[in-house]
């Protein structure tokens, strides 16, 4: 029932999330490297050492690419509740992850489609006690309920180094990706974040905001 609602609603949305062609190719490449088994319903977690490294960019980029290329619905869940960004996509505050977890509801009730195959769950209300919320999320995982559940779920996780529960929340993902920002993030912090994730080793790194200053004739020479 929920999914039918979503898809109807989707018709009303213009697509606020359009990526340059270049970006689709980068995320296709990344998706390929993840080697998710079709039908595995894997939860992909996007984390980083610190703030501003591009977790939301990568989460939405990857989701938009899979949603466009596969016929399957893709869900982006915003677990970075202290710095919510996804409500911007929806034009204002909505009920979201915090509300569903706190009220013990399944997530399907707070999903909103933004393009035909792409659904989002924004962070929602700010919880009274962030630590308690994170503890509950980490231990109970995403509330799937008994009903419909999308093929691919991508979680925009909070940064590891900013929260004591960071590594624990990262545990809600089956496949973990660590975004890091080139020329910005101190290497010591990335190393420390990876060390904190011991036992839940990220599948790999996504180096964001990468650029080269070499003239092409030098790059080509190797």
């Amino acid at each position: 029932m929920a999914i039918a609602e979503h898809m109807e609603e989707a018709e009303e949305y213009s697509s606020p999330l359009s990526l340059p062609d270049e970006a689709y190719e980068v995320y296709r490449h990344l998706y390929g490297k993840l080697q998710l088994h079709p039908g595995s319903r894997a939860v992909v977690g996007i984390t980083s050492a610190i703030r501003g490294e591009g977790r939301t960019t990568v989460a939405l980029g990857l989701a938009a690419t899979i949603a466009q290329d596969s016929a399957e619905p893709v869900l982006v869940v915003e677990a970075d509740i202290e710095n919510p960004q996804l409500h911007e996509l929806l034009g204002g505050p909505r009920r979201g992850l915090v509300d569903a977890v706190t009220d013990g509801e399944p997530l399907a009730g707070v999903m909103t489609p933004i393009t035909p195959n792409l659904l989002v769950v924004p962070a929602g209300s700010h919880p009274e006690n962030v630590g308690a919320f994170f503890y509950r999320l980490a231990t109970s995982r995403l509330p799937q309920g008994d009903g419909w559940w999308p093929a691919v779920v991508i979680v925009d996780l909070p940064p590891i180094m900013n929260y004591g529960y960071g590594p624990m929340i990262a545990g809600i993902a089956d496949v973990l990706l660590m975004v890091t920002r080139a020329n910005v993030t101190p290497t010591t912090l990335v190393r420390e974040a990876v060390a904190r994730l011991e036992g839940n080793r990220p599948r790999g790194l996504v180096l964001n905001d990468h650029r080269t200053y070499l003239p092409s004739w030098i790059s080509r020479a190797g």
């Binding site: 606020p16 999330l17 990526l19 340059p20 270049e22 970006a23 980068v26 995320y27 490449h29 990344l30 490297k33 993840l34 591009g54 939301t56 960019t57 990568v58 939405l60 980029g61 960004q85 996804l86 911007e88 996509l89 929806l90 034009g91 990706l177 660590m178 890091t180 920002r181 080139a182 020329n183 910005v184 993030t185 101190p186 290497t187 010591t188 990335v190 190393r191 990876v194 080793r201 990220p202 599948r203 790999g204 790194l205 996504v206 180096l207 964001n208 905001d209 990468h210 650029r211 080269t212 200053y213 070499l214 003239p215 030098i218």
Partner: protein, 235 residues
């Protein structure tokens, strides 16, 4: 190596600066100081007249003996006075001080035996009047000799074969050396800047080593410029 190149091209404005500034400063220095002006003349020694002079060493060539006698005369205020008298311009520069003129001549005029009978006379000055001063000097010296030896024939002790002319104050070789040193200093400073800058950036993650450092594979590199701007798109 690649990292240093990256740094060089990222901060090329700063990296290139010393490479430009140092040689430019060297050129500016050469032009400004430029070694000033140097007048030079050659005289031919008359051996028979030479014998009359005060300082004669028979083991020396005529040119060497003449050079010695001319050098001896340089410090004399009387001679300086004679040169000033012959060259009003020089008198003006010297503010009519024989003392100053004697010191100036002593310091800046050299006599070099460049052949058995040839003495090269040079006068280095930071004024273009070096030429008339040297001319006056060469005219006055034989007169002084005649007065000192009480022998009028001493006026014929030499004849000027190449009259005073300007010569390049510093050699091409020297200029190239200074320019080369400037370039070297610039390149070294630029290299220093690039290596310091690179070691500073080394503390930030980069494609080349983030994989090794974390032990994780780099699955993707998202190029600069592909960031989302949610706030703007929502409006």
């Amino acid at each position: 190596m690649r990292r240093y190149l990256e740094t060089f091209f990222q901060y090329w404005r700063f990296a290139v600066l010393p490479i430009l500034i140092f040689p430019a400063a060297a050129i500016a220095g050469l032009v400004l100081m430029g070694g000033g002006y140097k007048a030079q003349a050659n005289v031919w020694v008359n051996q028979s007249a030479l014998k009359q002079l005060a300082y004669i060493n028979i083991g020396f060539t005529p040119a060497q003996n003449l050079a010695t006698n001319l050098s001896q005369m340089l410090g004399s205020p009387m001679f300086a006075g004679a040169v000033m008298q012959a060259s009003p311009q020089y008198a003006a520069i010297a503010h009519h001080s024989q003392q100053w003129a004697a010191q100036d001549l002593h310091k800046n005029v050299t006599f070099t035996a460049t052949g058995p009978n040839v003495v090269t006379v040079t006068y280095a000055s930071n004024s273009p009047r070096a030429l008339p001063v040297l001319t006056a000097l060469l005219r006055q010296a034989p007169i002084q000799f005649a007065q000192l030896t009480h022998d009028p024939s001493a006026t014929g002790v030499y004849r000027v074969v190449d009259s005073p002319a300007f010569v390049a104050a510093s050699s091409k070789k020297q200029e190239l050396l200074i320019l080369g040193l400037g370039l070297l200093a610039g390149v070294l400073l630029s290299g220093l800047f690039v290596s310091i800058r690179t070691s500073m950036d080394h503390a930030r993650v980069q494609l080349e080593d983030v994989g090794d450092m974390t032990g994780l594979p780099v699955l993707a590199a998202i190029p600069h410029g592909l960031g989302l701007h949610l706030g703007e798109e929502a409006v």
